[in-house]
Amino acid sequence: MSELVAAEDVLLFVNAAVTATGQREFRSTAAAQHFSLRFVHEYVRVNYRPVYAAALALDINHHNAALIVEQLLRTADEAGGPEEKRAEGRLIAARLALLPPQRVYRLFRALRAAGVNNRRTRAITRAWLAARPDPALDAVKYRSGLKAALRHVHGRLPDPETGDFLFAPGRRVRYENPTLDAFRRARYEQSALYELPFTVAEGFAARHGVPRELFLERIAPRMTRLEQLRTERAADLTVMPLTRLALYVLSLPYGERVARRAELTAALRAAARRAAGPYAGSWGRVAAVLDDSFSSSGSAVKRRRPLAVALGCHHLLEALAAPGAYTPLWTSGGDDPLLVRPYGPTPLGTRILDALDTGPERLVIVSDGWDNAPPGLAGEVLRVWRSRLDPERRTSVVHLNPVYDAEGFDVRRLAPSVPVAGIRDAEDLAALVEIAQFAEGRTGFAELRAYLDRRVELFLAGATGEGARG
């Protein structure tokens, strides 16, 4: 019994760590999300510390990864023996290498504010800083973050020039390093702007009064992919990850979506095929119930995220299913995935019935778990289907939920008999379906631990492999 409880707790935590970002959602405020998430973290950290660390190896979101690292380093003395500490350290180092640098700098700052300065923290910070590919770029782009981190851990300066740039800016008249020198010159000459990273150059451009249009056009080659998207410049759609691409498509007005239908559909399909990888075409007959009700519009900070996940899942499932054996069912009744919009109620129950009508091998439901036309019908349909019509489990049903429910400390589920997994990026769908099988309550904690250990091993192997390549 306690084993089952433990397994449930862990899955709950994984769902939270995948979906929750502490930001406002459609139905709950940022504060509620934040408090709820803090509680879940503390609960799992205290009760299942090894599992808590192992979650770093899963496809959890950056916010939670940073939170886990912070919590682990803050409570180093609870880790147990030196063996456990070493294991945690390796996981932390591997995860930090994957996090975007601005998040890591923010994490270091949080550690500093909390007064965490143990030997392990210092070692981890120094190792991460040492592994940064271009310290001069970091010094320009994340100046205060890098300064704070170096001060906090008494780190050695990457090189004398960067050191002077950070801590003694008046000492040198010019720098050998082109990035640092561009930063120095940017104060006086406009042409130097375009040798700097976009975010840094933006401030200088404003000071020089460069027209925005002109600035954007000339800085374009220095922009990252996301920055190009954000400033609405034509980005290269063929290399974008699936969910990002879906978000981009949904941000376009209908007219443009129709006009660029071929291009957008091709890009979405290509991204889905990439995400499906070796599993493409291996799932047999698949039916999907996809939620495009009003609540899938998300919130001001997570605009249309649930809908984008559904759209991404639609294309990914199309790639995973055997050719021609895929049936998508949107809750609004629409059949043009490119023109979906968040509107209307959520009649999940009837849509699930329609999906079961097609006799699928797998049924995937992508929804925030609120079912309101009529409420609770989806759960009832699934329960009766499982107990009366399909007790031999010919059809496997999985519910993927992109929204963290702050009140329930988990993602909302439709019925106890249907495994649910949190989802943030459509790309993770295959891995999440694997985790969801544990949520059915038929496998115990031991299997779950074994699964986690396997994932940790893969993760660490991947990290060192990457390190060797880099």
């Binding site: 459609f26 139905r27 009700s293 009003f294 609540s295 609004s332 509107y343 209307g344 109620p345 959520t346 129950g349 009837t350 019935l353 079961l356 009508d357 309101n372 036309a373 009529p374 409420p375 609770g376 019908l377 759960g379 009832e380 349909v381 329960r383 009766v384 289907w385 107990s387 009366r388 019509l389």
Partner: protein
């Protein structure tokens, strides 16, 4: 016409948020020939009353009923809708003369257009406030000179704006509109708080956000404040032995759930609104449509009492409806005024009709806030006589 006829509007399953339950009403076909728009006013509104007084008010928005028929060209759905008011100086507030509660719009040449502007719920409230506005018609000794001369003026009632009703704004924000939705019944702590119906789904979509700026009764505010979250009527499929054997059976059972909900709602939750007989008063004719205000019978004994306004088509079906739920105090006041008027404002006869004593009637008048209307001296005298006898 004595009842509200909601035929043509289907009930869909409710959506619940905390103590607020929202029941969508859906039309299979929009009503042809009538559209309702929102007109946004900036600043204060001034209304000229027939007795040459003016009252100043802040009016968030007005409604424009347009029965020119859709697709008639220049007058489109968005006519009259605009954000903000006219440009104003920073130190002054614009005052807009509204002339009358319901007013035909006129074009530049002064011809009456086929459009009517009215302020939501003001018709209904005016009806309630003007209840026996004239005061006593026979000069009984008990009434003060003021009452005989000027009637019950001025009278006022308090109401709460939607955004000050706890949880309502959030519930309206996350509500998921149904396709074809033309109305909504709003319950707070499972008491019917308001009903709102418009002719066209597009109008509803535009007017849905205005619900948070509307007036709600004291009762609604209190229920929202002290009430607990209401339960959701979740679907329940009975699957006992031999119940569900195939997918078709399951589908039939699911359909049955939806039907059961609609029947239960109409018979149980909205009964008082739909089955009470109201006193209707026609305010305005608009082609095939009639604009009414209605008053409840002011019966005491627990039944809900709503005042409101509605537009009906030729067959008497509701095209537009907006209601305001009276609080217990307001019902009592209405009841008392009705009885007083029935008995020609004679206190003794009213006491008989109500089956109570003279003293009790005086107490009721005072507790209804009509104390200044009584001639204190005469009333005290009469009370003393009663006691001595």
């Amino acid at each position: 016409m004595s009842r509200i006829d909601l035929s043509g509007l289907d009930v869909r399953p409710a959506q619940v948020w905390g103590g607020v339950r929202l029941v969508p009403l859906v039309r299979a076909e929009p009503v042809p020939g009538l559209r309702l728009h929102r007109e946004v006013y900036g600043g204060f509104g001034a209304v000229d009353l027939p007795d040459r007084t003016t009252y100043l008010s802040y009016v968030p928005h007005g409604f424009v009923a347009d029965w020119t028929g859709t697709g008639s060209g220049a007058e489109s759905a968005a006519y009259g809708t605009r954000l903000g008011g006219e440009v104003t100086a920073a130190d002054s507030m614009p005052v807009r003369r509204l002339h009358r509660m319901a007013k035909r719009r006129r074009d530049k040449d002064g011809r009456a257009e086929r459009r009517l502007r009215f302020l939501p719920l003001h018709l209904a409230l005016e009806g309630y406030l003007a209840l026996h506005f004239g005061g006593p018609s026979v000069v009984w000794d008990e009434w003060s000179r003021e009452a005989v001369r000027h009637g019950l003026s001025p009278r006022s009632e308090a109401a709460y704006a939607g955004w000050s009703v706890p949880g309502l704004a959030e519930a309206l924000r996350i509500f998921e509109l149904h396709p074809g939705q033309c109305g909504m019944l709003l319950y707070v702590a499972d008491a019917l708080a308001a009903a709102f119906v418009v002719p066209h789904p597009e109008d509803y979509r535009l007017l849905h956000p205005t619900l948070v700026e509307d007036l709600y009764g004291e009762l609604v505010h209190q229920y929202a404040y002290y009430g607990a979250p209401v339960p959701e009527f979740t679907a329940r499929i009975r699957d006992g032995a031999g119940g569900v054997r195939s997918l078709a059976d399951l589908r039939a059972a699911a359909r049955e759930q939806e039907r059961a909900w609609a029947a239960a709602h109409d018979g149980l939750m909205a009964r008082d609104l739909l089955e009470t007989s109201y006193a209707f008063e026609r305010v305005q004719r608009m082609g095939p449509f009639d604009l009414y205000r209605f008053l409840p019978p002011f019966l005491r004994g627990g039944a809900e009492q709503h005042i409101g306004e509605l537009i009906t088509d030729r067959k008497g079906r509701t095209v537009y409806l907006k209601t305001f739920r009276l609080s217990e105090n307001q019902i009592r006041k209405g009841h008392l005024l009705r009885r007083l008027a029935d008995c020609d404002w004679h206190l003794g006869r009213t006491a008989e009709a109500l089956g109570t004593s003279y003293a009790e009637v005086v107490r009721r008048i005072r507790s209804a806030g009509l104390d200044p209307l009584l001639n204190a001296h005469v009333v005290t005298e009469r009370l003393r006589e009663d006691q001595e006898s």
